[in-house]
């Protein structure tokens, strides 16, 4: 499944050479939505930012979760630090499936020159329950659709989201 996703993403990348936006998952343009969650044409979660700056709930929620769980290593606004890479750059080439895989299982890059270790967050509900939120926020940063700001306006928290969140956070 993951391989197929990756291949699809690579093909999109190649095909989407002429579009304004292209990140690791291809063209981020939202083509449909379900309960306040937006998807691109490959069914990857994506952001939706209106001309007045209103962001979808997932982008807003992802901003908050990122700055709680991720920024102590990866720096503010996905900009990176002396300690860990800038995720706004990583997502320019990394697809959704890879992102989920690394966040859930972690990653090690240890050599004589560096000791970078990303922990596995699969068992951490504060991250695992908000995987798509964080992805959508960072995807918006990777595509320069959102600047280094706290989103000022956002869509309402969808009722279905609240239900899913409660069950995800509650079961742990």
């Amino acid at each position: 499944m993951r391989m197929i996703c990756l291949m699809a993403a690579a093909m999109i990348l190649a095909a989407a050479g002429a579009t304004a936006y292209a990140d690791g998952s291809g063209d981020p343009t939202a083509v449909k939505s379900e309960d306040g969650k937006y998807f691109d044409k490959e069914d990857n979660p994506t952001f939706k930012i209106s001309s007045d700056g209103t962001v979808d709930w997932y982008t807003y929620s992802g901003y908050r979760r990122y700055h709680s769980e991720c920024h102590v290593c990866h720096g503010p606004d996905g900009e990176g630090s002396t300690y860990a890479p800038a995720l706004k750059n990583s997502l320019k080439t990394m697809g959704y499936a890879d992102f989920v895989g690394v966040v859930a299982s972690g990653r090690k890059n240890v050599s004589t020159a560096q000791e970078n270790v990303m922990p596995a967050f699969g068992d951490n509900p504060n991250v695992a329950c908000y995987m798509d939120d964080i992805y959508v926020y960072l995807r918006a940063r990777a595509d320069d659709a959102l600047g280094r700001v706290r989103p000022s306006k956002h869509e309402e928290k969808p009722a279905a989201y609240t239900k899913a969140e409660d069950s995800c956070m509650g079961k742990h």
């Binding site: 901003y63 630090s81 002396t82 300690y83 509900p125 504060n126 700001v149 956070m169």
Partner: protein, 600 residues
């Protein structure tokens, strides 16, 4: 005037030593020899003051680099080397290498120690893989490894003498602090406040590494080692003083970590240190005062029992850890000679207390921008005596979960973090490296998983509105609680200061400058750009008749994470990027020790 002060200072040092017949005389004596630097802060009082004066205000402008040493490690380099006779001991961040250099043999590496540690400890360290240095005693060098092991190395050979497991990284317990040797014990704290660790200070036998006592920051009285004589602000704390202030058994994941510095008064036989933030950062989730997080502890080093405590920030709402150094000085207040402890807290208040009784004497803002409190209640008959008055508009608890509280000063990294201040008995001033940064803070609900981050707040940081400097280096009068002079710095000053009898004060900057300033006026007398940003502490020593000044550079730590990409200006509105300088435009990674001296 200066002579008189010096004489009285020497007198008090002698008095300290005289009253310590039972203390580790070796270290008391060694710390009085200004040629050496035998413990992290130079002396038990944590003054970071040296009597050496070959380098002084009139010649420091001629300072030159004498030699350099690459540590071979890239991460943030906090702390500084120890110097004992001809030997210098240099530590590094993870993987926590230790080098023993022979200063009489052109700084040849006599031995090197590198522990084998599971790299899985790296991401459990909240903010870079820093280590704040070594300690010495009984012919051994002590290292607190990232994996929360305390090891004793033979100072001559580097051979492992013993190793003690202080905590479990799988539960978020890690080691970043410098050990501290008192008499026949080695004290060591714990990091893990962002992982819901119940933190403690632990004493090990210097001979074999056996645990002697362990004192938790929160929990039942037999875990926090309080007895019926333990006082807070002059009154007995009473039974269950900690667990009464937590809901249910939240104290078991309560934080209160002890990753800062330790000081010791041999005459009073009391050890001083502070505890960190209560876990989580979401105050709504942990009602109560959360004692004894954010607390100054004075304990008996023989058995760990607390003599007195003072909680600076009850029910923390901003991550203002209370771990910063406790500097011991003997000064006159209102014509009376007092034994004092002075502490510059993350919360932006500079505290001076009587170190024998824990009486609160001074609590004043050491950055005028500090705004979360209108001040500490100093009225002894008031029911809120000793508590800071919190302004509702900056209370993240009052504003509640999912509410973004704006414009809180200081930011979570505090008006000062772990970077230790210095005290000069000549000028009777404290020299304080500070952060000048504010924040927005939004708490929200989180759930606890052992060994995983337990944070629960989103925050963004920026310089105080209308200002562009993110740091100041100040001189502070601890008797009155007033700033005497203040130098602006572009970035937070994240380097430990050094005061000397040469009327010169040294500190490093995040761009990488080692700076020397006049102790009386703050006037800059010398600067030199080292290979990387400085978050290490400045040290001085004498070898073969020559005075040296040494500092580790190697940017990183909290500063490297928060400032690497630069801070944004939230008031500039949508689309404003890079409103403030990015540290990454000034410096890059790499650990180097740079040693300075006057030309011969």
């Amino acid at each position: 005037m200066r002579k008189v002060l010096l004489a009285s200072c020497l007198g008090s040092v002698a008095a300290l030593a005289a009253g310590s017949a039972s203390a580790n005389d070796e270290l008391v004596k060694m710390s009085q020899n200004p040629k050496d630097w035998v413990m992290p802060a130079g002396d038990y009082a944590n003054t970071r003051y040296s009597k050496l004066n070959q380098i002084n205000a009139s010649n420091v402008g001629k300072l030159q680099v004498a030699w350099t040493f690459s540590t071979g490690v890239l991460r943030g380099h906090e702390g500084g080397p120890l110097i004992i006779g001809n030997m210098m001991y240099v530590h590094t961040p993870f993987p926590n290498k230790v080098y023993a250099l022979d200063l009489s043999q052109d700084n040849k590496i006599v031995w090197k120690y590198e522990p084998k540690q599971d790299p899985n400890v790296i991401p459990v360290m909240c903010c870079d893989t820093v280590n704040r240095g070594l300690s010495y005693g009984d012919g051994k060098v002590f290292l607190h490894q990232a994996d929360d092991k305390l090891v004793a190395l033979d100072a001559k050979t580097g051979n492992l003498v013993w190793s003690a497991t202080n905590g479990d990284p799988a539960k978020g317990q890690t080691g970043t602090s410098a050990p501290f040797v008192i008499k026949d014990k080695v004290l060591v704290g714990t990091s893990g406040g962002e992982f819901g660790v119940q933190c403690s200070m632990t004493a090990y036998d210097i001979k074999d590494g056996k645990q002697v006592w362990k004192a938790y920051s929160e929990g039942p009285d037999n875990q926090i080692l309080f007895d019926d004589k333990t006082t807070a602000l002059g009154k007995p704390t009473g039974k269950d003083s900690s667990i009464k202030t937590w809901e249910g058994d939240q104290w078991k994941i309560g934080g209160g970590c002890t990753w800062g510095w330790v000081s010791y008064d041999p005459q009073l036989n009391l050890v001083y240190y502070g505890s960190g933030n209560p876990s989580t950062w979401n105050p709504k989730q942990r009602p109560g005062d959360n004692k004894w997080s954010m607390t100054i502890f004075a304990r008996n080093p023989d058995n760990g029992v607390a003599r007195w405590v003072y909680q600076m920030t009850p029910h923390d709402e901003w991550d203002y850890d209370g771990v910063n150094e406790m500097i011991l000085s003997d000064q006159q207040i209102n014509g009376q000679a007092r034994k004092l402890v002075t502490h510059f807290d993350r919360n932006g208040l500079g505290y001076t207390l009587d170190r024998e009784t824990g009486e609160l004497l001074v609590a004043e803002k050491y950055d005028p921008k500090v705004n979360w409190t209108s001040g500490v209640d100093m009225n002894k008959s008031s029911p809120t005596y000793g508590r800071p008055k919190v302004l509702d508009q900056y209370s993240t608890d009052k504003q509640g979960e999912d509410h973004n509280v704006k414009g809180i000063c200081p930011a979570a990294l505090g008006t000062k973090d772990e970077q230790p201040a210095a005290y000069s008995p000549d000028t009777q001033l404290f020299y304080v490296p500070t952060n000048h940064v504010c924040m927005d803070y939004e708490p929200f609900k989180v759930s606890y998983t052992a060994g995983q981050p337990y944070v629960g707040a989103t925050l963004s940081m920026y310089p105080p509105p209308g200002e562009t400097n993110m740091g100041n280096f100040i001189a502070w009068d601890g008797k009155t609680g007033k700033i005497v002079w203040s130098n602006k710095e572009q970035f937070s000053v994240w380097s430990g200061a050094l005061a000397t009898a040469g009327d010169v004060v040294f500190y490093g900057t995040l761009e990488g400058y080692l700076k020397a300033v006049d102790a009386k006026t703050g006037k800059e007398l010398y600067k030199f750009k080292t290979p990387s940003g400085i978050i290490g502490n400045v040290t001085t020593y004498e070898n073969n008749g020559r005075q040296y000044v040494a500092v580790l550079s190697g940017v990183g730590g909290w500063a490297g994470i928060g400032l690497a990409a630069g801070l944004t200006d939230p008031t500039a509105g949508l689309g404003a990027v890079g409103g403030y300088a990015a540290l990454s435009n000034y410096t890059a990674l790499g650990g180097t020790l740079t040693v300075f001296a006057l030309p011969q």
